[in-house]
């Protein structure tokens, strides 16, 4: 089975975000592969291993530094990569423009399925999977937590998270699948994997070279930080029971939750 995995490099979840104009201060940020994309990479690798055939191609839009996330995916076991290395395009790209660039790269590849994380934990938009499917003209199943493919690769049977439970969906391939946590346990890159990744081919292209004509459809005007929350009061009391009694009174009289 041939698969494409779209990944994004994002600030590590430990990052303390500082804003500057319409963006964030990038100094000192530790960049990592978007955690949801790790599930996507892992699933693609598992399908290849199960079928004992096919290749996994990684596609990522980002500036020079995005190569680190791409190498991580290659070290996990992906075979080749396309790096849409275009800092100017990436900086202004909204989910629509990102999907357009990814779609342009994916169109030139051979694939049975496209895996992508359900959202990137930087802008948290969660739009790229659905938009990518639209632009490629293939079905999309989002929030996938279980993936099975028919032996003849004609269709996949997947479980997705829905409000209050799960739904089982059958879909013909090729299709786009967005990975939710729970789909699998992503592997760590092994040392030999990291060594091999250095020699794997990465095709670097600009958005223009891929024929992307669409630009962003939304624009970030300004970023701000939420008002700092002040520590409130510690509830006093001789023992746990007394504190619980006071808390119950506060929840009843002040918060009016009961």
């Amino acid at each position: 089975m041939n698969t494409v995995v779209c990944i994004k490099q994002v600030p590590d979840t430990e990052t303390l975000i500082k804003v500057q104009g319409a963006g964030i201060v990038q100094d000192g940020v530790k960049w990592v592969m978007n955690p949801y994309d790790e599930f996507a990479v892992e699933e693609a690798l598992r399908q290849k291993e199960k079928m004992k055939a096919g290749a996994v191609t990684v596609v990522s839009l980002g500036p020079d530094r995005a190569i680190e996330a791409i190498r991580t995916a290659l070290a996990m076991g992906a075979d080749t990569a396309v790096h849409i290395n275009d800092a100017a395009f990436a900086e202004k790209a909204d989910p629509y423009a990102t999907a357009a660039a990814l779609a342009a790269a994916v169109k030139g590849l051979t694939y049975d399925a496209v895996f992508v994380g359900k959202q990137a934990i930087d802008d948290d938009a969660g739009q790229v999977p659905a938009m990518l499917g639209e632009m490629l003209g293939i079905p999309v199943v989002t929030m996938v937590i279980k993936f099975d493919v028919a032996d003849d690769k004609s269709k996949a049977t997947v479980t997705r998270e829905v409000e209050g439970g799960v739904a089982v969906i059958e879909v013909p391939l090729p299709a786009v699948f967005s990975a939710q946590k729970g789909l699998n346990e992503p592997r760590y890159a092994s040392l030999p994997g990291i060594m091999k990744a250095k020699k794997k081919p990465v095709d670097a292209k600009t958005a223009a070279a891929l024929g992307v004509t669409e630009g962003p459809k939304t624009v970030v005007k300004e970023m701000s930080l939420p008002p700092a929350r002040q520590a409130g009061k510690k509830i006093a009391g001789d023992d746990a029971a007394a504190k619980a009694k006071e808390l119950a009174r506060i929840l009843h009289e002040d918060v009016k939750a009961v």
Binding site: P95, A130, V140, G165, V168, V171, V219, K234, D239, A244
Partner: protein, 321 residues
């Protein structure tokens, strides 16, 4: 006159509260407020939207809309949107809305703004405020193309009664069945009526300090005392330990929530967790470690053993019932 078109979502035979919230907001914007409701039995629900300001309600009803099938719903909504030609499309960013909205936008060839918590009208433009980095920062976002497609996080706006003209029109949609490729084989819903964490008004959440899955029963009991708008949550530590399913996880790789009340029990308050819940209106923390970072965000802190505090709290709250 181009105004706002709302996507009204139907779940379990009822219109979602978040859909009424966006109708109320659209009414505030002025201009014509249209709504499109899709679902089996939607016709019987349509008039409810008028109470909050819908002037025109387009109904797409039929057995083929019993379950949410993205392609069918997108086709139907886009047909209505092309007829209405609104300048703004609003939907609630529910689980379904998050799947539906970007697909609608892409098919209309425009962008979308996800999970907004506030909207300001600036002439013809809507400026949307949305949390990014799981709430560590906010972005002010504008659409550069029309229609401006915007999904609003549930509980962001009040539902206000304000009558609209409420003309109901049943729309005959011609679905291109050849494009509806994904088939829903089965749906399994948990045997509970608790709201989704992103929509709940009260969340009682547990972390590593809960010590094991069996102890979450006590948090469920506490949540139940707050009524049907309350639910439970969990920190990443509790989820990764296998004590709770991932759908309960609050924080950067889980859900970002804004309830009226968040009670954190045995949660130390890692930066990823704090990002996901610090927009809660009131935060209560119960933790025996007085140095836990959660106390820097909590309006009310109880420094004590949660295994003593929570059962006592349950008993005390029962006295108000």
């Amino acid at each position: 006159m181009p105004g706002t078109l709302i996507y009204a979502e139907v779940q379990k035979g009822e219109i979602k509260k978040g859909s009424f919230e966006v109708v109320s907001k659209a009414k505030e914007f002025g201009g014509e407020v249209a709504a499109c409701i899709i679902g089996k039995g939607a016709e019987g629900l349509a008039s409810q939207l008028a109470k909050f300001g819908a002037d025109k309600i387009y109904v797409v009803d039929g057995p083929e809309y019993e379950n949410y099938v993205p392609e069918a719903f997108v086709q139907a909504f886009v047909q209505v949107a092309k007829t209405v030609n609104p300048s703004v499309i609003l939907a609630s960013a529910t689980a379904q809305g998050k799947d539906f909205v970007p697909a609608v936008a892409a098919r209309l060839g425009v962008g979308a703004v996800s999970d907004c918590v506030d909207l300001q009208k600036n002439g013809d433009k809507v400026v949307a405020k949305r949390p990014v980095y799981a709430g560590k920062a906010y972005a002010m976002v504008e659409c550069v193309a029309d229609p401006q497609v915007i999904a609003v996080r549930p509980n962001s706006f009040a539902v206000k009664e304000a009558a609209g003209a409420g003309a109901v029109e049943k729309v005959a949609v011609s679905l291109d069945a050849s494009k509806i490729k994904a088939v829903v084989k089965s749906i399994e819903l948990a045997q509970t009526n608790e709201p989704d964490q992103t929509e709940a008004e009260i969340i009682v959440s547990g972390g590593r300090g809960m010590k094991g899955p069996e102890n979450f029963k006590m948090l469920e009991d506490l949540a139940k005392l707050f009524g049907p708008t309350a639910t439970t949550g969990a920190s990443r530590a509790a989820v990764d330990a296998g004590w709770r399913a991932h759908r309960y996880q609050v924080g950067q790789t889980g859900k970002t929530v804004s309830p009226n009340l968040y009670i954190a029990c045995g949660i130390s308050g890692a930066i990823q967790h704090l990002a996901g819940m610090s927009t809660a209106k009131v935060i209560v923390a119960i933790n025996k470690d007085a140095e836990a970072p959660i106390f820097t965000k909590a309006d009310y802190g109880v420094v004590d053993d949660l295994f003593n505090v929570v059962p006592a709290l349950i008993d005390e709250i029962k006295k108000f019932k």
